[in-house]
């Protein structure tokens, strides 16, 4: 790889880098829509028993030509005070499940009783996901009132919020007794990582548009109008995400390696191209402008993120208005040249450029996008000696044992699971209860403890013997040996350090989902939007090719129906 896009774990696996990732064509929501479009999946509202107050249920099916899945949505009536995005909530505006096939009458009765209970329910193994969502009160109420009166919702409100419904958890992969994820499954929905969850979220986008149109008509009668097609397409599904993603990242080292490895191998391939065709160059220039407009519509309250956005706007504007860029792109190795010009730009901007590069080579990207899963079982050959293990630590974990590390701060925090709905939380050592029950996310500390202990044993001792004496070290030794084979499996920073921001870990994972408009609400949680700009089922069936990366809402006058 050219030196301008470093693929070295020591450069790449840093929280500020991972926390700047943007969605790309490799992201799961993007892959899913590509597949839906290519295979012309058919969506159908099979049942709609929702009353004028928005209460009832709906069944929406999707026929993939190999399987049928149903999204069964139960719409409830809750007060504004009961609405919460936290995992510990127990009431939601909507509860829903993605189901293999169409439920029988008996199955439906079971779902009706249990899906609203979410974590506390008894779930069927035909359920692929289990989820819930709340209304975005500002946009939802406003849109309903306006549409009922024959007006479109206000442009600024749609642009700034961007969704009518916001999921607060989307459970998949066998959680609470639902269908297990299966890497060997024939259907991609069950085989590809997070496709089932993404399909659920996409179908909820579709449902949200149908719901608002239905309720506007019920409220306004003949005066009412439908949500404009372009606004409907722009509307995504919101999501509130918290700390649960950090343990996931640590618990799936091989999978995380796979995602990053694929992304950077792709960038390596693309950026090393000697010649890039005119059409692609044109696409890159158009995309730069699109990305600029997209981030001009990205506004958040979080001062750190807003500062990054503003900087990125300036940087993108300077690229677009720089005539040298066009000349550079016409020369040999255009992408390398472009990156060399921009080496001092912010990571936020660089990641936008990487997304554009990947987008410009759809065939190569789409081939790689089928390789984003892996078998996560991993046994280790413990035939190494302590000497060998120490060498590996010195080679790959210098970041952890380096004495320049401020030891007193590396375990400032600890991660734990609260007894209330098993919500992951972040405690402060020596201040909060639960340190003895902490999750093993203190990798940096564990590596230090291991290294110290290894020094007390003979260099020739086999690891398998060392573990019998020190079983508490097995977890970290296994991680170190996995990392020897999978170089991107470890974040090269302490996840318990005083300065660590969990929000970076969340953004990293969410970028692979295809999230946009990251909207940090604190260091602990963020709101995002999925499928913003994604074509709706009736647009897909018309075979309208719609580019929806870096979605933009074009200005409109809401008073014109």
């Amino acid at each position: 790889m050219n030196h301008l896009i470093s693929d070295l774990p020591r450069d790449l696996m840093k929280l500020d880098i991972l926390g700047s990732f943007h969605s790309t064509r490799l992201s799961f929501s993007r892959q899913l829509i590509n597949e839906i479009f290519k295979k012309q999946w058919l969506f159908n509202i099979l049942d709609w028993k929702i009353n004028s107050k928005g209460k009832g249920f709906s069944i929406i099916t999707v026929n993939t030509h190999e399987n049928i899945y149903s999204l069964i949505v139960f719409a409830h009536s809750i007060s504004d005070e009961e609405r919460s995005d936290r995992v510990i909530a127990d009431k939601w505006d909507l509860t829903f499940t993605l189901f293999r096939g169409v439920p029988s009458k008996k199955e439906f009765i079971h779902l009706k009783k249990n899906v609203p209970l979410q974590e506390k329910g008894q779930h069927l193994n035909k359920q692929i996901t289990l989820s819930r969502a709340n209304k975005s009160m500002r946009l939802y109420k406003h849109s309903l009132n306006n549409l009922a009166k024959g007006k479109q919702p206000d442009f600024k409100l749609v642009r700034d919020i961007g969704y009518l419904l916001r999921t607060t958890a989307v459970y998949g992969n066998g959680k609470f007794g639902i269908n297990d994820f299966d890497i060997k499954a024939k259907c991609k929905v069950l085989r590809n990582p997070f496709w089932a969850e993404m399909l659920t979220v996409y179908m909820l986008k579709y449902f949200s548009i149908e719901l608002i149109n239905f309720l506007a008509k019920a409220k306004g009668g003949t005066k009412s109008i439908k949500l404009d097609e372009k606004i409907s397409q722009f509307i995504g599904t919101g999501n509130a995400t918290g700390l649960g993603m950090a343990p996931y990242i640590i618990n799936h080292p091989k999978l995380i390696h796979t995602w990053i490895d694929k992304k950077y191998k792709l960038l390596k391939k693309i950026s090393s191209k000697k010649v890039v065709g005119q059409n692609r160059i044109k696409f890159i220039i158009v995309s730069l402008k699109k990305a600029y407009l997209h981030i001009c519509q990205w506004k958040v309250e979080d001062t750190i993120q807003q500062r990054k956005i503003l900087k990125s706007r300036k940087e993108l504007s300077s690229i677009i208005n720089n005539k040298k860029v066009l000349l550079l792109l016409k020369n040999e190795f255009p992408l390398t040249n472009l990156m060399s010009c921009l080496k001092d730009f912010s990571q936020e901007t660089k990641e936008i450029l990487y997304s554009i590069f990947i987008e410009a080579f759809p065939v190569i990207s789409d081939n790689i996008s089928n390789e984003m899963s892996c078998d996560e079982n991993e046994l280790i050959n413990f035939n190494y000696t302590i000497l060998k293990l120490k060498k590996i630590i010195l080679k790959n974990y210098l970041w952890a044992i380096n004495k320049k590390n401020k030891y007193k701060n590396i375990d400032h925090y600890f991660w734990y699971v609260s007894e209330t709905k098993e919500e992951p939380r972040l405690g402060i050592k020596n201040l909060d209860n639960g340190y003895d029950k902490r999750l093993p996310l203190d990798i940096c500390l564990q590596v230090n403890q291991l290294y110290f202990l290894l020094n007390k044993h003979s260099k020739k001792l086999k690891i398998s013997d060392f573990i019998l004496i020190n079983p508490e070290m097995k977890y970290i030794i296994k991680r170190i040996l996995i990392n020897e084979k999978y170089k991107y499996s470890e974040i090269h920073e302490s996840l318990t350090h005083k300065k660590m921001k969990p929000i970076d870990i969340l953004r990293f994972k969410l970028s692979f989902f295809g999230a946009t408009k990251f909207d940090p609400k604190s260091n602990l949680w963020t709101r995002i939007t999925l499928f913003q700009g994604a074509p709706l089922p009736y647009q897909i069936i018309k075979k309208q090719k719609i580019e929806w990366f870096f979605p933009i809402l074009e200005n409109y006058d809401s008073s014109i129906s």
Partner: protein, 203 residues
């Protein structure tokens, strides 16, 4: 019987084992072996519950030298470590084993991952399980705690009267055992307080 998913088995066993303070690395391995046994319809939950109750107040001390019945080798916690040791030392192991079905799970996992062949024999030197080409064959599915011999085999062993372990699609566990596992899992959580609520997402 309670129907459960593999993900539930894995996560709830990890939590339960952590609930008695066994190390993370061992908790993950026990859970993976339970998943293997569930996939192949071999019972294990009674033994897990026995261990949870036995070790809830005392730390388990690993012991691979188990020549007498008083110091049984606890296969649910240490079967993987034992096989790692056998591979590393190229040796044979023998001793009294508690819950020997976990040895079958362990040889099955090694066979799948590394295609390493193992054989398990009983005290009468009768072959009762072997792994070969990612597959495991057993004489019978339910084994009692007893004296066993385990060794790594270079050549494939003739199957004799062993039958191939096949995967099932639905996983069930005894209601009471599942209840016990879930209740031990709760010991791995931290009690709620007003201040701790502010340590999670949403704040």
């Amino acid at each position: 019987m309670t129907r459960v998913s593999l993900n539930q088995i894995n996560s709830e066993i990890v939590k339960a084992i952590r609930g008695i303070n066994l190390e993370w690395g061992l908790a993950y391995e026990t859970a993976k072996m339970c998943v293997f046994l569930s996939q192949h319809n071999i019972k294990y939950s009674r033994e897990i519950c026995y261990l949870l109750n036995k070790y809830k107040d005392i730390n388990y001390i690993p012991n691979l030298i188990c020549k007498d019945k008083e110091s049984l080798f606890i296969a649910p916690f240490f079967a993987i470590s034992l096989l790692e040791n056998i591979i590393s030392k190229k040796c044979q192991w023998e001793g009294y084993v508690f819950a020997p079905q976990f040895l079958i799970a362990a040889i099955g996992m090694f066979a799948k991952e590394f295609n390493i062949k193992f054989s398990i024999k009983n005290k009468k030197n009768i072959l009762i399980a072997k792994s070969n080409n990612s597959k495991v064959c057993v004489l019978k599915r339910n084994l009692n705690s007893d004296y066993y011999f385990i060794s790594q085999e270079k050549l494939g062993i003739q199957p004799n009267n062993l039958s191939l372990l096949k995967k099932v699609n639905e996983y069930k566990i005894d209601d009471d055992d599942w209840g016990t596992i879930l209740s031990f899992g709760k010991n791995s959580f931290v009690k709620d307080s007003i201040s701790s609520k502010e340590k999670g997402a949403g704040y």
